[in-house]
Symmetry: C2
């Protein structure tokens, strides 16, 4: 029962699964091992698969080891608002752990690899290892910081600024973990999904995209985004990456 017929040939080597999360939150190798030891079998999904279902009971912490995902809330009239985008290394539901059932649906935007850690084991880890508790708190806080930024542009900025800001943010977050600092990357979102993120109609997203293209700020086709003029894009977005970096290390003498 070590590695049966998993999709990733190296999937029986679980040691690399948490590298991105570990790096970001400054977990020690020992804590990383403990997390891995508590985890269940990694799960591989295709694009579109449900990772977490709205209203379902929360049974595990789920770490997104590879791929991208989106969290959405659905309204009575059928429209939906995407409230978060996750990239490799993010936890999908650190904040949700505090609630008995999930308040949003999370689905895969690409093929993904997820690592679930059952609550019972996680609770023990959290109680015994302050660094893990802190890492989960940090994930929740990072999530909240991003959400605040989204609230600002949802409430106060026009369609161009919203789209530009979102593109800047995703670009930045994807480049944190990646080695390749190129200006082109995969953006596995349809215009319809972009609309659900930005609180706009699909039609208007299309027009705004064309405006950004006409200004030679971006290129986007076939889910491949190239940022041609990063500073120009950041200007109309009023993008300031402060909220994505600069997390405070724990006080040295505390432990």
């Amino acid at each position: 029962m070590v590695d049966k017929d998993d999709k990733l040939s190296m999937s029986h080597d679980r040691s690399a699964l948490l590298s991105k999360l570990t790096k970001r939150s400054g977990l020690s190798p020992s804590d990383e091992q403990a997390l891995l030891a508590g985890a269940s079998t990694p799960r591989h999904t295709a694009r579109g698969d449900r990772l977490i279902q709205e209203g379902c009971e929360t049974t595990s912490l789920i770490i997104l080891c590879d791929g991208m995902a989106r969290a959405a809330r659905t309204l009575a009239d059928g429209s939906q608002q995407i409230v978060a985008i996750f990239v490799a290394g993010d936890t999908l539901n650190a904040g949700e752990l505090m609630f008995p059932r999930s308040r949003m649906s999370i689905s895969a935007l690409t093929p993904t690899v997820c690592l679930p850690i059952p609550l019972a084991r996680l609770d023990r880890l959290v109680a015994n290892r302050p660094a893990i508790a802190r890492a989960l708190w940090l994930e929740t806080a990072a999530q909240a910081a991003i959400q605040q930024e989204w609230m600002v542009w949802l409430g106060r900025r026009n369609a161009q600024a919203r789209l530009a800001h979102f593109l800047c943010e995703v670009c930045y977050r994807l480049q944190i973990g990646a080695e390749d600092p190129g200006e082109a990357f995969d953006l596995p979102l349809t215009q319809h999904e972009l609309a659900d993120i930005l609180g706009l109609s699909t039609v208007h997203v299309n027009r705004v995209l064309q405006f950004l293209r006409s200004q030679k700020l971006i290129e986007l086709s076939r889910n491949r985004l190239t940022i041609q003029d990063k500073s120009g894009l950041r200007e109309i977005a009023e993008f300031d990456a402060q909220y994505l970096r600069g997390l405070r290390p724990p006080d040295a003498g505390a432990c």
Copy 2:
């Protein structure tokens, strides 16, 4: 220097300051005492006073023991978006603690009593007392849950639904801590501030308020809000209080 001319006559009795927070997060008396012991002198402010300044270094956790406060982000054009409302018992910056400097300004909506806990001492508490770490994480998660709800109505609902939902939320949160379950309470917000919360113009807030009044759903004058038809209001708000209650208790066997 025990209680000089403090506004609250019982201010030298610090033991009650944390009661609301404690109750919500299920802290033990021992943890509560430890928190109190780590705290500095309580601070009393008037309406309008800055509690936290955007861009300032984060030096303390600040607990709002009494009163209400708002957190706002200001944009280049001078407009602002209020991203959070705090009521008695909330922590103002649990999530911000992870960042070296604050990303938002928080100011008092009423006279308030705040209890600051310097970071150095807090770090020690967090490292040694899992329940306190957990409580701060929970506060961050609760904040994030509320923000997600705000994102949904900012992105996808019209002005009436936004206002209605916000009123439902505030009403609910204020009644959690209060004994008096009446339908009338103080809402220390000007229409301008409401507009900054809802992402609307002041003028439009006024019109929507009048619409809600004309439907006999609410009464609002002189910062005093009465909800005349709670179920009617909740209906147009699509309000579901799930996200405000039902926080998961820590696993019993974990400690």
